[in-house]
């Protein structure tokens, strides 16, 4: 019995928590993308799968749209989710395109309460500079990334609220599509 407990504990320490594993795998995919010479579209496909596994895009969509989310039909919500996923993947594909001896380090993973976790990591640059990346989890998936204290989701929510206020949801859709196109074209040969 004691031996089984030891084996289980050793296994736990070896792989860390589930959120840690999710982040670690996602980081591996980002590093692969950075090291790859493949075209945007190919790297996009790989990262699309990685984002699908690691991120809770439905929750991200809901929080990003704020009050407007409630006014959407189920079909419209799915449409927005798909659009946001495209934007998230295009952003990662564009940003993580050059490898310059960067690496990722997991600092700690903490369960805040009831399946809500924070995994704190560092992106270590070639010159030793650090970018703090904290991944917020809900029900096993990432819904927020905080870089050096700035929450990606809060920024998105504020940014979208402003566009929805001035141009409506159609305007927001147009702007997001525009951003995706810019990412795609910026990587074109």
């Amino acid at each position: 019995m004691f031996r089984i407990v030891l084996i289980v504990l050793a296994f736990e320490f070896a792989i860390g928590s589930e959120p840690e594993r999710v982040v670690s795998e996602f980081h591996d995919e980002l590093l692969s993308s950075m090291k790859s010479d493949a075209a945007f579209v190919e790297r996009y496909m790989v990262l699309d799968e990685a984002v699908g596994k690691a991120f809770d895009v439905a929750t991200i969509t809901r929080i990003s749209l704020g009050k407007s989310w409630r006014e959407q039909s189920a079909e419209e919500r799915l449409g927005f989710s798909a659009l946001l996923r495209e934007l998230i993947v295009a952003t990662y594909t564009s940003r993580f395109s050059n490898f310059n001896d960067q690496s990722f380090e997991t600092i700690e993973a903490t369960e805040v309460r009831d399946g809500r976790w924070v995994v704190k990591t560092h992106l270590v640059k070639k010159d030793g500079g650090i970018v703090r990346l904290d991944y917020y989890f809900r029900d096993g998936l990432i819904f927020n990334v905080v870089a050096d204290g700035v929450s990606d989701l809060s920024l998105r929510r504020a940014d979208y609220a402003s566009i929805i206020g001035s141009e409506g949801l159609d305007g927001l859709r147009r702007s997001i599509r525009g951003s995706i196109e810019e990412y795609r074209s910026s990587d074109a040969p």
């Binding site: 929080i63 903490t110 805040v112 917020y136 819904f143 920024l155 402003s162 951003s179």
Partner: protein, 242 residues
């Protein structure tokens, strides 16, 4: 002179703080948004035509070691504010660490050109007068976009003024237009990547800048360790209500 400037700036912020209405701590508070937006537009136009090209050119012509030396030099001059702010927050360890950095970099670091202190394990503490006021309870403050100087709040205005004035105060008659331009180019170059990311990512750059500013300040007040639970609660409040 230096002390009087700091005192004046702190007094302005405290006086304005007295008129604050209650509200959530560290949250965005922008009652004069139309004025701020106008100021932002003017600053952006100036930035696009003068400051950004200056910073890009500066980065292109300066060898990395020279760029680092310039950045170190001005950072060292400004670390006096960080040291003072550590003590004012009742965090003498942080104050002494920055005082030590100032001493080491000003002497062994050839007047601040080299950051010897970091190499010796004395990390910069990054304190400022805005954080001092926040630690004294001034946690909600009006947003201001100051032309050319950028985003701030009434609470952080003393920091902005002191930050901009310290090189002139520290090197007195040796401060001239060239030194000022070098400082400006170096300061703008430091945030080139941030503003490029903002321009690439944001749909409404004004809102994006404001939101990012408030979050960065909150993070700075908590020395990079803001309460995690609050982050969850703020974003997931709708889910919790269900």
């Amino acid at each position: 002179m230096r002390l009087s400037l700091v005192s004046w700036a702190v007094l302005v912020a405290l006086a304005s703080g007295c008129a604050l209405s209650p509200g959530p701590e560290y949250a965005v508070y922008d009652p004069v948004e139309s004025v701020n937006r106008r100021s932002y537009e003017i600053s952006e136009a100036l930035d696009r035509s003068v400051l950004r090209p200056l910073a890009v050119g500066y980065r292109k012509v300066m060898p990395t070691f020279a760029e680092d030396a310039v950045e170190n030099f001005f950072t060292n001059l400004r670390s006096t504010e960080s040291a003072l702010s550590g003590f004012l927050q009742g965090a003498p360890k942080r104050g002494f660490r920055d005082t030590g950095r100032l001493f080491v970099n000003s002497t062994l670091g050839v007047g601040g050109l080299l950051d010897v202190a970091t190499a010796l394990g004395m990390e910069p503490q990054g304190e400022d007068l805005g954080q001092v006021l926040a630690s004294w309870g001034y946690t909600r403050s009006r947003y201001l976009y100051v032309p050319v100087l950028g985003p701030t709040t009434v609470r952080d205005l003393p920091h902005l003024i002191v930050r901009a004035s310290l090189p002139r105060l520290a090197i007195h008659e040796n401060y001239n237009g060239w030194v000022g331009t070098l400082d400006l180019a170096s300061t703008r170059a430091e945030v080139l990547m941030d503003t490029d990311v903002r321009d690439e990512t944001s749909l409404d750059p004004y809102t994006f800048t404001r939101e990012a500013f408030y979050q960065r300040r909150r993070d700075a007040v908590f020395n990079g360790e803001p309460p995690v639970e609050a982050g969850f609660d703020l974003l997931l409040e709708e889910f919790d209500e269900e």
